[in-house]
Amino acid sequence: MGGQKRDGSATPRAPELSGRDAELVEELLGGSHRALARVITRIEDRAGGHRAIVSALHEHTGGADVIGITGSPGAGKSTLVDKLAAAYRERGDTVGVVAVDPSSPYTGGAVLGDRIRMGSNVGDMDVFFRSMSARGQLGGLSMATADAVKALDAFGKDVVVIETVGAGQNEVDVVRTADTVAVLVQPGSGDDVQTLKAGILEIGDVFVVNKADMDGAERTLAELEEMVHRREGPTTGLDTGHHGFDAPEHPDDPEHPDDESEASPQEWTPEVLRTVANTGEGVADLIAAFDAHSAHLRESGEIEATKRRRYAEEIRTLVRSDVGALAADEIERRGGVDRLAEAVRRRETDPYSVAAEVVAPIVDCVETGRE
């Protein structure tokens, strides 16, 4: 990609769609599974041409509820996603799933195993399941995932589920591209609940204790409840008559997830639910919670703010990437980063001066090009 000319950065116009790609977009919008699959491949490959495609798809998006599911390895994410997809299908919704798996940083290879668990939906083409590996760089994955979700959305899927291991910042960024985020926790994972505090707790709209038929489920539920309410902060409780409204949503009485939006139209209190993904127990409640959160986002107007925030992040990432590519070309033109680094090592120059020199022509262009 280094030395190539990029139309996107040369002109402020939208990326041009080639005849072939226009056909692909047309076919995708017309309902071709093959075209959808091919578009996602293009998005994954980040092979330049995907920009025009995603750009053309954008106006067709916005119809799908996007749900992110994360949790530690072995928490039962894939199995739960399988059961969720089947439940959505039962009520007539079409489903897209993007399952993100780690790849080896050494060979780039990956075994994408989430598909094995999709037992309830095999042969049902209205569940479009796509495995993605965490190729590429930090930031690239969440961008690719967001674009893949757009493709599924534009295709007309009612619900799009993003499934990823909640291991690090990369994954957190991925799952943040969803409107509603469920965090899965295994029973008896006291330490897990502790570690959840860092980063993952903040992004969960629904917390799910999966494998709830195992020992320690009640305790994990209680711990999560406690944490969720601590997150609300003491003032929230005082302002809204916390205790009165809080009573019905304790773990021993979880059957009214819809009450949530009535109780506090402005503030969403994360729900804590229990499921047994293997048997499908609790899946209906989970879907009800997703629906409630989705309704809450719409009624409170929060959905607009969420989407604005997400698009702002996308714009920043793309601009940073384009400008970064310009800078990378400039570094290449000056003999490559290794040569520059060696010059710095020999005390001939310093990193600040090098950076200034590299950026100088770009700054010039910006100043002359702005008018």
Binding site: M1, S104, T107, G109, L112, M125, R135, G140, D322
Partner: protein
């Protein structure tokens, strides 16, 4: 590093079709492919031909490796190929079959569109090399 860096990886589906519970070979292959830098989707056991088609189409794989040790290749493989054609995915998918396939059947499978048949004892490198050399070009 740019988020737009091109990262083309060879995507493979390792598929077990039919009533055949022997997947040690498929596991070994999947791992070898991974270590070769491929992205491998494993189907799991006892899949019907249409499940394999669904997975191959949705995952948009370059390579479909079908492992059959039950002897039912003459009924199962044609169904998979039919399905791929139905979704317009036959042309640019490299189809490989692994298992114990008699010579006559092998010729017939190749006639249908299977690129190569790998019997027991095939060195892993040979299969990987074959894929690298024959993976369909994407426009």
């Amino acid at each position: 590093m740019s988020v737009e860096q091109e990262e083309r990886a060879i995507r493979c589906l390792v598929a077990k079709v039919g009533l055949d519970g022997h997947d040690r070979g498929a596991h070994v292959i999947a791992r070898a492919f991974r270590d070769a830098g491929f992205e491998v989707v494993y189907s799991g056991l006892h899949r019907a031909p249409e499940d394999i088609v669904q997975a191959a189409v949705q995952e948009d794989v370059d390579v479909l490796g079908i492992s059959i040790l039950s002897g039912a290749h003459n009924t199962l493989v044609p169904k998979v190929i039919e399905g791929l054609k139905e979704y317009d995915a036959f042309e640019d998918t490299l189809i490989l079959v692994g298992g114990i396939i008699p010579d006559d059947d092998e010729a017939e499978l190749k006639e249908l569109g299977v690129a190569e048949v790998f019997g027991p004892g095939t060195p892993m490198e040979e299969t990987i090399e074959f894929i690298r050399n024959n993976v369909p070009e994407r426009a």
